[in-house]
Symmetry: C2
Subunit: 202 residues, 2 copies
DNA sequence: GTCTATATTGCGATAGAC
DNA sequence: GTCTATCGCAATATAGAC
């Protein structure tokens, strides 16, 4: 066995278990058994259960470091928004656990929320707000839009579909095959709204 | 002291603590101390910690029983949607804990998810889907809309604003004073979309 | 590095006094 | 109904053998 083998086994097993049941829902006894590693290795490699959790949080949120790169600076604001939503959907597919940590921290924050989660999300929102403001100043978006409210609608759409999976799988197919259609439908609603302009009656 | 006094004190204290830190984040020792009641009262009144949690869940989700009544059957579909969003915002104001239980159960489901949470949410989504389908068949909404995707955008907007409060309070004022403005902004985006029809450039 | 064994603390539940 | 005391067990962490 290589030196890092057990460390990585603990990390990946813990990522799965903490995502499913939260920090307090998993004991290091169970975790070490599931990973096939001695319980003492958790303190040895990470310094304890909470430190292991914080290592996972940092890893999970590191993908936001690349958000700036996926948005083409030369695109129109609407294309940037499409890039963001497509990237968000892909992110949830590539790492199905991130959303669990994100919403778990939003709902029941641990002491790591303010140091790891909040700054990362704050940065992302800031970038999106600037895109909306750019769209407004270019005259492409309606000038009466509240940029932050608009950004939250965007983020809400892209995340809630995955967040609500357990409660909505009876109503709609959540397979990745439908992701491009989802992107189209969401961009469609976001850009045009749902009223039929031809027969607008209110 | 009346018979129901201690029972209610346990219930309200537990509702607060479980909302903040989850079922596994609170011990019945701490809970009983916070409520000023003996620890044995939890078993006496509820049958144990998990049974107390399930009683809270049922109480929290009972407000969905009245959802049908807040939607005026004679209104146009768009007005019904406005009623739903206004009711959802009010619901989060009247009971700031419901969203915690809702997202906590979606993210880290307990054994009560399938019996209490899922049926309630399923019912609500079914009703909203029917409203969108009605709007489409009346020609008021675009016929190419996917009703479920559309409903999820609606629910996403109305819930994500509150869910993300901890991460977004630096960007926007979450005071109830702004709730009517929020409703207006969200309905505005949902109905018209964000593109400026006058200078539409894509 | 990895394990076993154990120290220590805290957990949920309940018996039994009042 | 309510409390105190306690049972049995599981929690995290770590000392010490290898």
């Amino acid at each position: 066995m290589l030196k890092k083998d057990y460390r990585n086994r603990l990390l990946s097993t813990a990522t799965l278990l903490f995502a499913e049941r939260g920090l307090n829902g998993v004991s290091i006894r169970e975790l070490s058994k599931a990973a096939g590693v001695s319980i003492s290795m958790i303190s040895y490699y990470f310094g304890g259960k909470e430190a292991l959790y914080s290592a996972i949080l940092k890893e999970q949120f590191s993908c936001f470091d690349y958000m700036e790169q996926i948005i083409n600076k030369d695109s129109a604001p609407l294309a940037k928004i499409r890039d963001y939503i497509r990237w968000t959907i892909k992110r949830h597919r590539d790492n199905p656990y991130l959303l669990r940590y994100y919403t778990s921290e939003l709902t029941n924050p641990t002491k790591y929320f303010s140091t790891i989660v909040q700054p990362t999300i704050g940065n992302a929102i800031q970038m999106l707000v600037e895109i909306v403001e750019e769209g407004i100043s270019l005259g492409e978006f309606r000038e009466e839009l509240n940029p932050v409210d608009t950004v939250l609608v965007m983020a809400a759409m892209a995340n809630y579909y995955f967040l609500s999976t357990h409660a909505t799988e009876k109503f709609i197919n959540h397979s990745p095959d439908r992701d491009e259609e989802l992107l189209t439908n969401y961009m469609d609603i976001f850009t045009k709204g749902i009223v039929n302009q031809q027969e607008k009656s209110n």
